[in-house]
């Protein structure tokens, strides 16, 4: 009985060591990630860039295409999420206004069926 107990303990210890090594010491390295995995502040800054460009271009379709790098989520939802974070993180009022304007524009924008997103 004690022999099996020893083996079980060794197995458990091995698994624990493997988990610790694989998750903490040498986890899987990602080098080619997609923008969906960006941290929220980087996502928000990307949306701010799009909003800054939108301010001059006034082209919601182009803004939506730029936001499409975040996946299939609706562009207005992406902008809205960024707007929420920008409020929480106390972005400057100018930046907040830009993101708000983009969000509103995307909420009212109707994509033309058949147009492709990147």
């Amino acid at each position: 009985m004690s022999r099996w107990l020893s083996i079980l303990i060794a197995l458990t210890l091995g698994i624990a060591l493997g988990l610790g090594y694989g998750w903490m010491i040498n986890p899987v390295q990602y080098t080619d990630i997609t923008p969906e995995a960006l941290r929220i502040d980087y996502r928000t800054d990307y949306v701010l860039m799009v909003a800054e460009a939108y301010q001059a271009e006034q082209d919601p379709a182009l803004a939506a295409r730029r936001l499409a790098v975040f996946g299939s989520e609706p562009p207005a939802a992406i902008a809205g999420e960024a707007e929420d974070f920008a409020h929480q993180a106390a972005y400057s009022s100018d930046d907040l206004v830009l993101i708000q304007e983009l969000t509103v524009a995307l909420q009212t924008w109707q994509p033309i069926p058949g147009t492709s997103m990147p």
């Binding site: 197995l11 210890l13 060591l17 493997g18 986890p27 995995a37 960006l38 980087y42 939108y54 301010q55």
Partner: protein, 285 residues
Amino acid sequence: MKTNRFLWVWLLLTLVLGFGLGLAYTWVISPVEYVDAEPLVLRDDFKDHYRAAIAAAYASTGDLERARARLTLLGDPNPSQVLTAQAQRMLATGESSEVVQQVAMLAAALQGEVGTNLPTEIPTSSPEPIRQSISTSTSTPETSLPTSEIEPTNTPVPLSTATARPTRTSTPTLGAPYQLVGQDTVCDSELAEGLLQIVVINVTRNQIPGAEIVITWSGGEEHIFTGLKPELGNGYADFLMAPDVTYSVRMADGGTPASGITPSTCTASDGNNYLGGQLITFQQP
């Protein structure tokens, strides 16, 4: 004694087995998920999207400091070079000229910060300043002049152009027509044969980067941009002409075109003839 040794072997094997199971779980079944990644680890094509967005924002706000800070996130060793290369890739893939122009403009703005010793103005329509800038560039490997031969099919091979370091004041005003203010023959045996050089300047004679130029000839058309060779000037672009082909050059934004352009015939000091070039200068009034 023998039993104990056998037990230790079993324990060791079990430990290794457990370690392997743990690794398999963490690396394959449930690897670490990156949900708070930085732009540095984005896939290359998404980095291009990111840079394009930075350039678009810069084109709107003119905030170079913010653009530079954002580019830092991507970890590019030389952002202006990366942007220039991206602009050329985008041109090759048929990206819209507006987007390419934005990327090229940002590259040019960053070049301006580096503080090269390139001329930012050209004094007259004389070809001399251009040739001077070219001869300077030959001392730098990265800025060497194109020496590729003209293809036998008579298809003009466009040389890559790029944007350079614009200041906010030298940004072209959209819709303003350009005037043809200079069209000169260039005979310089050190230049590529049939080299068509184009310089675009504004009213204060500052060179304008990112300006789109349309070159047409019988059966063909090519669009190039100024500033893709910032070492030769922010408003500089060039193109290799084929012999016996007549070209017309105009700014995409409109204005006076230069027509009837062909490679000139020049005579070298040893008496041999060679194909000379042309220097076209457009100015935004």
